[in-house]
């Protein structure tokens, strides 16, 4: 059984369908990239996994347990949703670090408040070192570059040891040179047995780092499968056209 099974997720805002019948699954330690043009629903799908949006239909199974189902969601109270969310980590496009806390305190905060751990410092230091930020631990977010901020945000998400770490366009707010330092960290995570879902526009990066690809267009799922099936020898004609048009640019 796969670690994560997403079945027929549908989401509408009023009369507009933003996700139409999306299904995919993910094994432990695999990396899935979600590709597609802007406005295709990629980010909304990721937000559904983190309970930042509630789907209108479908089912999500995590580790053989119901994580989301349309019929049960209305019975979940805030505490239940909070517990469920902890299975997923989230790294945002805009980092969303807490400005009044140092890099170290950003990583420690949820360990203290949510996990009620007393000794959080060693763990936070270790994570920031892993992100190459040993000299930036006492800096406040506004004193850090975008790439450094995003790496703090990754450390903050890793601190809670989620089953699956989600990235929502992690490099879209960064300059090209800062992009590479963040992508490098994500690649290291992929190589060190982290289960990840990455929403991205970086197709070459997705090819390199992913085990599976979900390709979306206009709220629809164009294809889901291995990198080989979806991107290298595309079996879907529209994806092939998309990739060719991107190449010529």
């Amino acid at each position: 059984m796969a670690l994560l099974e997403v079945r027929n997720i549908t989401k509408t805002y009023g009369s507009e369908t933003v996700l139409n019948n999306i299904s995919f699954d993910l094994e432990k330690f695999e990396t899935l990239s979600i590709l597609g043009s802007s406005g295709s629903g990629k980010t909304t799908l990721l937000r559904c996994l983190n309970y930042l949006e509630i789907p209108d239909d479908g089912e999500i199974i995590l580790d053989n347990e119901v994580y989301f189902s349309k019929d049960k969601v209305s019975t979940y109270d805030e505490d239940t949703i909070r517990q469920k969310r902890l299975h997923f980590g989230m790294v945002f496009q805009q980092f969303n670090l807490f400005p009044q806390y140092t890099a170290l305190e950003n990583v420690q905060l949820a360990l203290k408040l949510v996990k009620k751990e007393k000794d959080t410092q060693d763990k936070a230091i270790e994570l920031l070192k892993k992100m190459g930020l040993e000299n930036r631990m006492d800096h406040y977010p506004h004193q850090l570059s975008g790439g450094q901020q995003q790496r703090v945000a990754i450390a903050r998400a890793l601190a809670l040891e989620p089953d699956i770490l989600c990235f929502d366009e992690p490099t879209s707010a960064l300059d090209p040179e800062l992009t590479s330092e963040v992508l490098k960290v994500i690649k290291e995570l992929a190589n060190s047995k982290t289960t990840m879902i990455i929403v991205t526009h970086e197709i070459n990066f997705a090819k390199e780092v992913s085990d599976k690809i979900l390709f979306m267009d206009n709220a629809e799922q164009l294809d889901f499968g291995s990198v080989q099936e979806v991107l290298i020898n595309p079996r879907n004609q529209r994806i092939e056209e998309f990739l060719n048009s991107n190449k010529s640019e």
Binding site: N50, Y51, L52, E78, D79, R82, Q83, R85, L86, F88, G89, M90, F92, Q94, N96, L97, F98, P99, Q100, Y101, L109, A110, L113, V114, Y140, P141, H142, R156, A157, L160
Partner: protein
Amino acid sequence: MFTSVTLALWQGFLVTIKLFALTLLFSLPLGLPIAIGAMSNNKIIKLPLQFLIWVIRGTPLMLQLLVIYYGPGIFFGINIWGTGENGRFIASLVAFVVNYACYFAEIYRGGIQSIPVGQFEAGKVLGMTSFQIMKDIVLLQVIKKIIPPISNEVITLVKDTSLARVIAVYEIIWSGQAFIKSNGIIWPLFYTGAFYLLFSFLLTVGFAKMEKKLSYFR
């Protein structure tokens, strides 16, 4: 003469400070439930509070003082404030607290709504409760944002206390004006300005210190 004038003005100034301090003591906390209620999704809570804020901000404080002091007697035939000096002071305090709570409520609302939604979402995905998000993430950011507008209101309040004179609260302007009748001199009235200036100077310094203390983050 100068000493006796100073002492007389000081008596009035004590009333001014008392009205100022008690108004802040009650209106600063009272503004918060008004702000939260005015942002509520429940119309039964939201609409009356928005109406209250509109009326209070849309009419002169001097008129509110008169209505609160004379209103109960005129409309209901009961003078709940009594006739003494103490009753007039309490009536003016109530008027000031309601008025300033509404202004503070609008400042709080603006402060809370100016926090990027990403801050709330970052707290949520880290598994924090709504209360933890408010207390450990949002609160300090809101305080930093609202210190400048709050300091504006507080300094305005120093001077607004002189309006209490309209229902015969013996504050500093009145104590200065009294010398015109009793001694035929007008300079004590102008002298009251020095008290206001000194007091607002101290407040300005205090608020600047607070702003500086929170300048370590953006």
